[in-house]
Amino acid sequence: MDESAIKTVDLRKVFGDTVAVDDLNLEIGRGELFGLVGPDGAGKTTTMRLLAAVMEPTSGNAWVAGLSIINEGERIKEHIGYMSQRFGLYEDLTIMENIIFYADLHEVAKEKRPPKIERLLGFSNLTPFKDRLAGRLSGGMKQKLGLACALIHTPEILFLDEPTNGVDPVSRRDFWRILYDLLKEGTTIIVSTSYLDEAERCTRIGLMHKGSIIMKDSPSEIKKSLGMPMMEIWPDDARNAIAVIKKVEGVKSVSMYGNKLHVALAKRELVETIIAELRQAGIEIKGQREILPSIEDIFISKVEGQ
């Protein structure tokens, strides 16, 4: 069998005159946690649907677990789990009934079910709630139930389309711990996200824009690609400081992160000029240091530069 979990060759999907996925060539190895990142409408969801064999491409081909999405789609479904943004949970069924429903759907043998279900409920911390109606679960718990359902047939490849949307920080941490456990067991995971701090947790990231992957590498390599120093500056009034800093010659970009600013500079020495200008404007500096840019910095510079 092929070493790669996923391979696409000139994969293309057109809706009317919109090219949603534009001749995509992508290879994802087994055991990777691959993050698909990009602005809304970049083609992330369409790519996932094509690879999950729930939608046919306009042209090109892709192999998932060594099977072609064009004529082996049904067999692909045995090897993958797919959790879409609007994951189909039945709100009037209990947690347990939902899981059994998905076990039926995937034709999981009856005798194999009890240990699997016990394990899935255990790692998602849902065991105490197994008789609760899905409609009465919080957002974070629904998410974990969705994941448990997508995993009932022990797929080797897992597709997660923006799984932590609208989920609070405590539940997001739990959810990612589960993903790391799956990764350790050898599952290949492809996740799309608009939380860029999550993208940094992936083993590799593909930055998608207008149907193409414009960059793919490990988070640390991607962060080195900015090609200029990035300073973190912590002024007492971040909002007004932006306008002042933008006027300094040699400043390539300024963006706000909470109450701090990330400033990309043509050269490091410009920091002194910035601090002097800010003092002039009556803004004090509480701290500054050179940092590696975040994925969000790279994302903004690449997408806005296109």
Binding site: D40, N165, Y180, E200
Partner: protein
């Protein structure tokens, strides 16, 4: 008309559903022009509180006013004086952009001779001048979100309620959206916003954290980071982040990945630092740096929830 400098004021506000207390005796004071962030885990009581403030749900107890109107008796007046945008962007997908704007103008009773000007204002603000006759369903998330915001403020309300307005919207659109919010706040609009993005919470003037129906912390973002954080946060830089996180976490120290770094939350720095160093050394993980840092709002949020 806003009758005082306080836009929203509630005392001992409570909402029960049967035996379940969704909102438990909360007090809030929000000043005119303030950006007030309302944080909490899913199911903590955020949406229920917001619905009571918007006049959509009658409280079980307590009192309060929004824009000077009594939340118990004047809900119809409140509705005319507020804008409300839910995370689902309640737009009609099968109407065009212009039709959606017209529809909401009608709902909010926008004056006939103001209608055209308001429509152009929304189209400008949302960057949709060229696409007014396109169907709403073809718009990417970021545009839909700005259109929904425009529709929610067609009647120029002095108070705006936003329920997870940036959920599922990409970072660039989120930044543009917050610039709009700042402009509105500078112009005097009061903003009440819920979010799960902790970097956005940092953009608010003041925050309250609700958990199990009760407000467990309140203050400016800096106050929350200083006053409520009784534990310390260590920033750890290692070569193998995921492995390091697991080892530290499994040894009973709350740890999370922040980008390529780890944040560990500890009670006692003198004890924790050597313990972490030893754990990493035993697992052959190279430690580049470990230092105490100012906690992020996410650290504060998680600590407050887990210790309450």
């Amino acid at each position: 008309m806003i009758r005082s400098s306080i836009a929203v004021k509630v005392r001992e506000l409570t909402k029960k559903f049967g035996d379940f207390v969704a909102v438990d005796n909360i007090n809030l004071n929000i000043k005119k022009g303030e950006i007030f962030g309302f944080l909490g885990p899913n199911g903590a009581g955020k949406s229920t509180t917001m619905k009571m403030l918007c006049g959509l749900l009658l409280p079980s107890g307590g009192s309060g006013s929004v824009g000077g109107f009594d939340i118990m008796k004047e809900s119809e007046e409140i509705k005319k004086n507020i804008g409300y945008m839910s995370q689902k962007f309640s737009l009609y997908d099968d109407l065009t952009i212009a039709e959606n704007i017209n529809f909401f103008s009608g709902i909010y009773g926008v004056d006939k001779n103001r209608k055209r000007a308001r429509m152009e204002w929304v189209l400008d603000m949302a960057g949709l001048q060229d696409r007014r006759n396109a169907l709403t369903k073809v718009l990417p998330g970021g545009f839909k979100q700005r259109l929904a915001l425009g529709c929610a403020i067609l009647h120029e309300p002095p108070i705006l309620f936003l329920d997870e307005p940036t959920s599922g919207v990409d970072p660039i659109s989120r930044r543009n959206f917050w610039n709009l919010i700042y402009e509105m706040s500078n112009a005097g609009t009061t903003i009440f916003v819920t979010t799960h993005y902790m970097d956005e919470a940092d953009y608010c003037n003041r925050l309250a954290l609700i958990y199990r129906g009760r407000i467990i912390a309140e203050g400016t973002p800096n106050e929350l980071k200083q006053k409520y954080m009784t534990r310390y946060v260590l920033e750890i830089e290692v070569d193998k982040v995921v492995e390091a996180m697991e080892i530290i976490y499994r040894n009973g120290i709350e740890t999370a990945i922040f980008g390529s770094l780890l944040h560990a939350t500890v009670d006692n720095i003198e004890k924790a630092v050597p313990k972490i160093k030893k754990l990493l050394e035993e697992s052959n993980i190279t430690l580049n740096r470990i230092e105490r840092i100012m906690p992020s709002l996410e650290d504060v949020f998680v600590t407050l929830i887990e210790t309450s």
